[in-house]
Symmetry: C2
Subunit: 192 residues, 2 copies
DNA sequence: TGCATTTCTTGCCAAATGGCAAGCGTAGGC
DNA sequence: GCCTACGCTTGCCATTTGGCAAGAAATGCA
């Protein structure tokens, strides 16, 4: 009987089953209630969290103090603030639960120890980083080449559950538009 | 007497001076003439290139076949296509020299061997990945919160040399606007 | 040098998106 | 259960950006 984290590690293709079990054993339980923060700006991210259930969002504040959603996270994904976690510097971003969440985390020191003792976990760690990077590149390209309506339709296709759990304004800032515009786009799309 | 690569490794703060010298010794010379490709889409990126002199750009094709600049690279930076290089998959992006370039590269297999034998190089490798990721996050936030004019002003401030070496259309796609708009923005800014 | 190609600018107008404010509905706290 | 946030929609109009096409300027190549 293997838990979701063990399976996630194993299914990456980079970790053996016994390796996955050993690695997963080092993670700790974590629960968050809706609206709880996993990370607040100014803090140093110290939880590399595998999400078993629930949804979260990452956001930053712009110069005018508006919060801008920089990412979403759903179950079977890893969430943490890359720069703060690896550089041990204060985060500019926040990570907040959109719904009640359950997951398993590991601290930076624990992760580094595991990296040293288990090369296959190192590979896994790199793959998480590379995937996050590539996904952001795809999103940037979509931001440049697609209309707001196309970007919303994409998001709806790829993350329908999140769209149901996040308020309109949150989704709008993620897409780079105002809540007013998103409301109009929704209306447009309903007509079709 | 240390070369630029050795200094770059050492100045990361993650590698000792002797370590930096040993690592640099594994890199190979590379020169590119203006407009040469370091990587073409469809190929697997196999050169982790430290640029000693010159400028390059990364670009992808959108659905209509237009090329979209996804990044710039100048001297004292490392350039490669992250996803293709680490996953050994065909690249969707191209890397092309904007000017004559000189640098030093290492292949994927060589890099992995070095990662295994020199833990300090592993740290360095991670820091390159993390920095690329964070920089892209900053750019995404700027894309969402700033006007085209502000983004252009930022780019002008951070990379004046590149702006002088890249054609207007190349810069425009990087900023997510048309060349027509960028031309107008330049005119506007000249008036001030 | 001269021709051809590309790059850049500009005018005119259209389309996309934003700003503001009012109104409405709903959900949570007391 | 009521009242107050808050979240969402909508109208009106402003601003930003784009599309197209023509022409000017610069560049590369024979």
């Amino acid at each position: 009987m293997n838990d979701a984290l063990t399976l996630f590690l194993y299914q990456s293709g980079l970790v053996s089953l016994t390796g996955a079990q050993q690695i997963a054993a080092h993670f700790h339980e974590k629960t968050l209630s809706k609206n709880d923060y996993l990370l607040k700006s100014g803090q140093v991210s110290n939880e590399y969290l595998f999400v078993e259930s629930g949804f979260l969002r990452l956001f930053a504040y712009d110069v005018d103090g508006n919060d801008i959603t920089t990412g979403f996270c759903s179950s079977n994904q890893v969430v943490f603030e890359v720069s703060s976690y690896f550089n041990r510097t204060p985060s500019k971003e926040n990570i907040q639960a959109l719904t009640d969440c359950r997951g398993r985390f590991i601290t930076f020191d624990e992760l580094n120890n595991l990296f040293h003792t288990m090369p296959e976990f190192r590979e896994f760690g790199r793959s998480i980083l590379v995937k996050g990077f590539s996904d952001l590149k795809v999103r940037m390209l979509s931001m440049i080449t697609e209309s707001a309506e196309e970007r919303y339709a994409n998001l709806l296709r790829s993350n329908p559950e999140i769209i149901r759990n996040a308020p309109l304004k949150t989704i709008a800032t993620y897409l780079g538009i105002t809540d007013t515009s998103l409301s109009r786009i929704r209306k447009e799309m309903a007509h079709k």
